[in-house]
């Protein structure tokens, strides 16, 4: 048992030591600008994306953008929204996104840091907001992003509301960002929380889920660690009105959830077919 404990500590240390420290200077506006046409092509032709009401985001200063998360480890909504934000406000406006430790520490995904992606923790989030940047977070994280596809229109943060404290401490408004379509990029069958516990991935890798899905090109896809090729699902995103952080955490969280869910319901009502949109 002692050996098993040592092994767990060693694995945890290896993962934590590989998570890059947040360096906001790694964001590279020129790199982002050069990538925009390629992402625009992908968003416009493959995902037929539609992003509405970016004008609801305060035009300057720090702001916390809170979204519902979909699409497993290849979430189309994140890159579509990043493209839209950078196109609308310009690559010159600092904009960061929080992502799971495994995402920012994976060597093939190092380019994400040039887009402003930093490891999801409270310190990094505060650092970004205190620098005056806009920050995109997905409180539902790996819990929400792997929900079964038949729950695709349900906003579910799994009870997480640390983002409210973050916004309160930084003195910024919360702008909910509702999206639909991402959970149709593959057929997600189960979060696999039981599998995560069985493999101790929850303790070693901060993974609450080892999801099970049917995804191209793997067929049966366990864990989604290698990603997948998303189906060409139509992505629709609607930015909601800003919310002031002026009540207790639960009250503000309830407002954010209500705003997001109503946005998702509105977008889902316009959708006639899965994937096609």
């Amino acid at each position: 048992m002692a050996m098993l404990g040592d092994l767990k500590d060693w694995v945890r240390e290896q993962v934590v030591s590989r998570v890059p420290k947040a360096d906001l200077d790694q964001r590279d506006p020129d790199y982002i600008r050069d990538q925009l046409p390629g992402t625009w092509l992908l968003a416009s032709l493959y995902f037929r994306a539609d992003v509405q009401h970016l004008d609801r985001i305060p035009s300057e200063g720090p702001v916390l953008l809170v979204g519902n998360h979909s699409g497993g480890n290849v979430p189309p909504d994140t890159f579509v929204f990043t493209l839209a934000f950078c196109s609308y406000f310009g690559v010159e406006r600092p904009f960061y996104q929080l992502a799971h430790n495994l995402v920012v520490s994976a060597p093939p995904l190092g380019w994400l840091r040039k887009f402003g992606t930093v490891a999801a923790n409270h310190d990094n989030a505060r650092l970004a907001l205190e620098s005056g940047a806009a920050l995109l977070v997905y409180p539902g994280g790996d819990y929400e992003v792997f929900r079964p596809s038949w729950e695709r229109h349900k906003v579910d943060f799994g009870g997480r509301m640390g983002y409210v404290r973050l916004a309160r401490e930084a003195g910024v408004q919360i702008v909910p960002v509702a999206s639909v379509g991402g959970q149709e990029a593959a057929l997600f069958l189960s979060r696999g929380q039981w599998l995560a516990k069985l493999l101790m991935a929850d303790k070693l890798l901060r993974l609450k889920s080892v999801p099970i899905s049917l995804a191209f090109p793997w067929g049966l896809n366990i864990s989604d660690l290698a990603g997948h090729i998303p189906l060409p699902t139509k992505i629709s995103i609607e930015v909601q009105h800003p919310i002031d952080v002026d009540g207790d955490d639960q009250a503000v969280h309830d407002k954010v959830m209500a705003s997001l869910q109503s946005g998702v319901d509105r977008l889902a009502a316009r959708r006639r077919f899965p994937v096609i949109g």
Binding site: P37, L41, A43, A49, D50
Partner: protein, 146 residues
């Protein structure tokens, strides 16, 4: 890429210029316009800056523009400062029987090398339709108010 569309408006140049020279009226005739707002306190004319976005494809495309020509009754032109490289021009010339010939040009070039070139080619159809629709709406606006 360069896109150009023309039309003839049944009104004199004064009437057309009154609208073209007032950027506050642009949201009322520019097609697919998502955002047109003043970026400084500069009065309309050379040096005035605006934040402009058209919905092209999936997202708003545009950025900060600056007016570089404001030639009374003749030309209104701008260049993009941020976003895609862009030049725009609305040109008015005397037509027959008191009419006005209007030309709307948009030249643009996306960054990003090969993908930028492909994006330019893919977008050109929609940019052309947007330009044509803008002139159609400008014609209606002027002729209805005339």
């Amino acid at each position: 890429m360069r896109v150009e569309r023309r039309c003839v408006i049944d009104a004199d140049r004064d009437a057309v210029w009154k609208i073209v020279s007032d950027p506050d009226t642009y949201p009322s005739f520019m097609a697919n316009l998502e955002r047109w707002e003043s970026a400084d306190d500069h009065p309309p004319g050379v040096g005035a800056r605006y934040r402009v976005h058209w919905k092209i494809g999936s997202v708003p495309v545009g950025g900060l523009i600056e007016v570089v020509e404001f030639d009374d009754l003749r030309d209104f032109a701008w260049v993009g400062i941020t976003g895609v490289n862009m030049r725009g021009r609305i040109r008015l010339r005397e037509g027959r029987n008191g009419q006005t010939k209007v030309t709307f040009r948009l030249s643009y070039q996306a960054p990003g090398g090969f993908f930028g070139y492909v994006a330019d080619r893919v977008a050109v159809g929609q940019v052309g339709r947007t330009t044509a629709a803008t002139l159609k709406q400008l014609k209606q606006l002027v002729e209805q108010g005339h």
